[in-house]
Symmetry: C2
Subunit: 213 residues, 2 copies
DNA sequence: ACCCTGCTAGTCAAACTTGACTATAGATTC
DNA sequence: GAATCTATAGTCAAGTTTGACTAGCAGGGT
């Protein structure tokens, strides 16, 4: 699973109805273009694809007064909403060391009830632990890890990463259980989209040095 | 950059000359099909593509006695070898939280001189630190991290991950400086490929529970 | 003699991703 | 007042990835 479907679906859902450029801007506000494949082509492709699959409904709209080509607005369907929740739950539960999917899911975690979020994260930890022990059991030869040579370092990296993630997850659980953030059904939600008159402080143009290769 | 080019190029290089199925098997031995996109289609595609680009030379070979279609053997060129080293160096140096590229690079790290490996890893740490401080400076609003709401947790995840990776990298540097493993020019190298009569203990069929969604 | 399974080696269409490109309208500059 | 810039909204071809499929041969059972 790539992160793009979750990101696009979630973004449309927050507006109820949105056109591609709006989604693109929201995701940019999130910084998603830096940590996921949220690039124009992928976004528009995902919108069309999901419209074809019945998760979104496409409405043709007259060109905006601000110029540019005619827009297409997308409205989320019942099926789309279900799929969106399914994706969030899956991404929160499963361990697969893909930062982009994980990050996207955190972005939408508050759409769930608080108790469910905690439950999913706890299941995530169980998943990490299961994965960890399966790796150590399965990949360590009986005659000690040295037999793998430097290849063993790959395993070591996996384990280290898994442990770090379990720790971070524990921290997040603690913060959520401690009452942080506003979850579904707890009053007005935190809006992760830009107001119309607000400028995007994280817009493209100022690059982060992650591309300093 | 995806991991597939590095993996395929490196695998061919270890044999000097190899056909697609051999590469596929080597990568499976590495467990690469589990942590990267090393699937048949991608492998054969990468071979053809790199042959077109002059990194490999394709030789048509008669079908093996064991049946199956006629094979194509690929031989690495001078340019291919250079590219291979370039990719390893880049992957070791740059920080971009992609496990697959990182893992692949570790697999080939011993092809470099020990001193260079250490130097590259130290540069990696500098890169991580630079990235870390740019994130904290850039993404934390002046009025405290709370303004971002739960979105701040994404940043938190990044930072946590970056720190964990820096720590792991430090450990690896220490082990290498402590004399672990056999690097280029230090006698016979560790062979990460299967001998002909050896069965693959990590072959597909036994799945790891990372797909336990 | 016949079938079935499994291994060898690889192909293919469909889907996805990338990054550069288009076209329009208002704003700014010279 | 012409030229350039910027923002809007999106398209497109080229490249990549996926997962299912093909086809030949060997060996074992019946």
């Amino acid at each position: 699973m790539s992160a793009i479907r979750l990101l696009v679906l979630g973004a449309v859902r927050q507006h109820g109805r949105a056109h591609g450029y709006q989604v693109r801007n929201d995701l940019e506000y999130w910084g998603a273009h830096e940590w996921s494949n949220a690039k124009p082509g992928s976004i528009y492709h995902a919108l069309k694809q999901m419209a074809k699959q019945g998760l979104l409904i496409a409405h043709e709209i007259a060109p905006s007064t601000a110029g540019g080509p005619p827009r297409t607005e997308y409205e989320i369907t019942e099926a789309g909403t279900e799929e969106c929740f399914r994706l969030v739950r899956e991404a929160l539960t499963s361990y697969d060391q893909k930062m982009d999917v994980k990050s996207a899911a955190i972005g939408f975690i508050v759409e769930l009830p608080r108790a469910e979020a905690v439950a999913l994260l706890k299941q995530r930890i169980r998943g990490i632990e299961a994965w960890r022990s399966s790796v150590t059991e399965h990949y360590v030869p009986e005659d000690g890890p040295e037999q793998l040579g430097h290849i063993g370092e790959i395993m070591n990296l996996w384990i280290h990463t898994a442990d770090a993630e379990a720790e971070w997850t524990q921290g997040l659980i603690a913060r959520i259980e401690g009452g942080a953030y506003t979850f579904a059904g707890e009053g007005e939600r935190f809006v992760g989209v830009l107001a119309d008159d607000q400028e995007n402080p994280y817009a493209t143009g100022e690059r982060h040095p992650e591309d300093a290769r």
